[in-house]
């Protein structure tokens, strides 16, 4: 592939996604359906808004006392018989996981859903080191077979149609060609995954919540695949970002009620599995990863993003996400939350993402922990410009615009000139280099501005 000078941008990737309008409609409607399910589930809880407030407040407390909660968690987890590891960044995390796998001489392992391992690009790292990782979440397995990253944090293959999954399974799992019956395909995946579960001595899981008080980790799945992996393996490795801590077990009464209602409109995940003490003869490892989180914790503007419980509600409600697809965000965590997390990891590479939004604010309204997502998008835009990561052309245009708008005389002259040009020489603006004009008409230029009208009709007096 030719190396391009310009980095990947959401705008150009989304433009490609929009070439197939029927598919965009399907993608939009599929996700909107889930947003509506979320609304119905939320309306069944009269105290929904209070619940969000409580969750947000618990997370504020966690972030204000993260050190204490983490060290208490570590102590309790060790007491339970787990081994606790600390990783400063993705590289350290991957090395720790690999060393555990190598110690047990495992070459085939299973992994349930974990956005942290996506963030750390663990699969690619393990593959390079001769370890075959099988994602056991059905959606994750589908994108893995297709050699793609997930396009959504909760619904990894939401961009795939069932007929396409039938074809993918035909190629990889030998299912009959043309069979796209979801129940049949799920059955085929189950059979395929069982062989993997039975032959893996190491199971990796993500972590939804880590309870500081008890040292246990809670993993939420709809398929029971985390349990199956852990119960069959000799070694359980639970990988988590340090922000996943909650103070007490009783706090789950808040978070578990919010998580799946926000995510898919279900009252609760089918399996909410608590892993506390390894069974006799089993090893349990917990890897706590920073990877930029403590830096974010120090920032008043961006700290609250660490409250995220990865429900994906902001994806489903986002009118831009629904019409651009997850891969347009070219990052592990797409959507509105990804657009405020990613620049924290690499401000240059992800400088386009905070602008992939109209700042409509719907994301902040659905967020179960009340993260000020759209305000942070605005703040990231300022940060990106300040750090010199905005396109030069844009900076020049903005300076010209600002010059005109800063001087009333110039503004009135430019306005009058612009309207005349639009009237008498419309091709100057109605052309292919004007992105507005590509699929929209320009406004009809009126003969006079309001200022001109006002001067005539009010004797020029304000």
């Amino acid at each position: 592939m030719r190396k391009t000078e310009t980095p990947l941008s959401h705008a150009s990737l989304a433009e490609s996604f929009n070439k197939d309008e029927q598919r965009v409609n399907w993608h939009d409607q599929t996700l909107w359906f889930i947003r509506e399910k979320r609304d119905k589930a939320a309306w069944q809880i009269p105290e929904w808004e209070q619940l969000r407030e409580v969750a947000s407040t618990i997370k504020s407390n966690v972030l204000a006392n993260l050190h204490e909660y983490l060290t208490a968690f570590e102590k309790a987890a060790i007491n339970n018989g787990a081994v606790v590891h600390w990783a400063e960044n993705a590289e350290e995390h991957n090395k720790i996981v690999l060393s555990i796998i190598q110690k047990h001489k495992a070459s085939n392992i299973v992994k349930s859903k974990s956005m942290l391992t996506e963030e750390c690009h663990l699969n690619a790292f393990l593959a390079k080191n001769g370890v075959d990782v099988v994602d056991t979440d059905l959606g994750e397995r589908i994108v893995q077979l297709a050699n793609e990253p997930p396009s959504h944090i909760v619904l990894p293959c939401i961009h795939w149609k069932k007929e396409e999954i039938g074809e993918l399974f035909h190629q990889h799992l030998g299912t009959p060609k043309g069979n796209a019956d979801p129940q049949f395909l799920t059955g085929a995946a189950r059979k395929h995954l069982r062989t993997k579960f039975l032959s893996s001595s190491v199971a990796i899981t993500g972590v939804n919540f880590a309870v500081s008080e008890t040292g246990e980790v809670v993993v939420c799945t709809n398929e029971g695949n985390a349990d199956l992996g852990v119960q069959l393996a000799d070694v359980h490795i639970a990988c988590m970002g340090i922000e996943k801590i909650i103070p007490k077990r009783r706090d789950l009464g808040v978070f578990l009620r919010l998580l799946t209602r926000s995510a898919t409109g279900q009252p609760i995940t089918t399996y909410s599995s608590h892993f506390k003490t390894p069974r006799k003869g089993q090893e349990m490892h917990i890897v706590l990863v920073d990877n930029g989180r403590s830096q974010r914790l120090a920032s008043d503007d961006f700290r609250n993003a660490l409250k995220c419980i990865r429900c994906g509600a902001c994806f489903n409600t986002c009118p831009v996400y629904r019409r651009s697809g997850g891969h347009s965000y070219h990052t592990a965590v797409a959507g509105p939350i990804g657009s405020i997390l990613s620049p924290g990891w690499d401000i240059k590479k992800y400088s386009d993402l905070p602008s992939a939004s109209t700042l409509c604010g719907s994301c902040s309204n659905v967020c179960p922990v009340k993260i000020d997502i759209h305000d942070q998008l605005y703040k990231w835009r300022q940060e990106i410009t300040k750090k010199g990561n905005s396109p030069k052309q844009k900076t020049i245009l903005m300076n010209i615009m600002n010059l005109i708008l800063s001087h009333p005389v110039l503004f009135n002259l430019a306005g009058s000139f612009g309207r005349k040009v639009m009237k008498w020489a419309p091709s100057v603006v109605n052309n292919r280099i004007n992105p507005w004009y590509k699929q929209r008409e320009m406004p009809e230029p009126p003969p006079q501005s309001f200022t001109e009208w006002y001067k005539k009709n009010n004797n020029g007096k304000p």
Partner: protein, 245 residues
């Protein structure tokens, strides 16, 4: 009560009739609004693009133009929200903060300050209401579909008083139209797709007009309607509230 009329730059240049309607509407309610001639722009186009640091001059201009008024009224939720959230003038921190609290979007001024009821107007058409996000979610002009809370709408309250006007229902009553400031050109493909979908929702429910509190969104929707040779027209709420059709 001294009222200043704040007309957004693009309304001034491209939609003077909206500004004229706003002025006449206020006059019909016995309120004289003055229009300071040296106004330009609230600075939002730069700030929302990440160039907030360039907006000092716009902020100072706004402050000079409007600080002597008791209330500042504008037919644009988005520009009002920008001033409310970001107006900052060095050396006049308290004064500019105080000023930002006196800036009102037209319908909230009518409903909350003037407590206007019985605005006499007539508009015998099927009308779809486009709820612009900054007015709705930012200024809270109406309840939002994401929240579990009682419904209200300042805009609908006014529209329901209009003789002959039939407000149509939409499938997605508060989805963004995709204008988004410079987003409309930097993310042209998604912006247009969002706009097309909004327009379709209105047309599919039989709208003859699409109205709203923000001309910017309406301008974007109008561009799409006209390109597709639709007979559906856009109209700002101030124009409906002064209509005698």
């Amino acid at each position: 009560m001294k009222i200043g009329l704040f007309i957004p730059c693009y309304v001034n240049q491209f939609y003077p009739n909206v500004a004229i309607a706003t002025l006449h509407l206020l006059e019909s309610l016995g309120v004289t609004a003055e229009y300071p001639l040296n106004q330009t722009c609230c600075g939002q186009p730069m700030a929302n693009s990440g160039y907030g640091y360039l907006t000092d001059r716009c902020n100072t201009l706004f402050f000079k133009n409007f600080n002597s008024y008791d209330y500042i009224v504008s037919p644009s939720g988005s520009c009002v929200l920008h001033i409310k959230e970001h107006l900052h003038v060095n050396g006049f921190e308290d004064e500019s903060h105080n000023l930002s609290k006196r800036v009102f979007e037209l319908t909230e001024f009518l409903v909350d300050v003037l407590k206007a009821d019985g605005i006499k107007s007539s508009f015998p058409f099927k009308v779809g209401l486009h709820q612009s996000c900054h007015g709705q979610r930012g200024l809270k002009l109406s309840q939002m579909s994401e929240l579990v809370a009682s419904p209200f709408s300042k805009t609908e309250f006014l529209l329901k008083e209009v003789k002959g006007l039939e407000l149509i229902k939409l499938s997605r009553k508060d989805e963004c139209c995709g204008f988004g400031g410079t987003f409309c050109v930097t993310e042209e493909a998604v912006s247009v797709k969002m706009g097309k979908d909004r327009v379709q929702d209105h047309i599919g429910h039989g709208a003859q007009y699409i109205t709203g509190n923000d001309v910017s969104c309406l301008m974007h929707l109008e561009g799409i309607l006209k390109r597709n040779k639709s007979r559906v027209k856009i109209i700002h709420i101030a124009e409906i509230l002064t209509s005698e059709k």
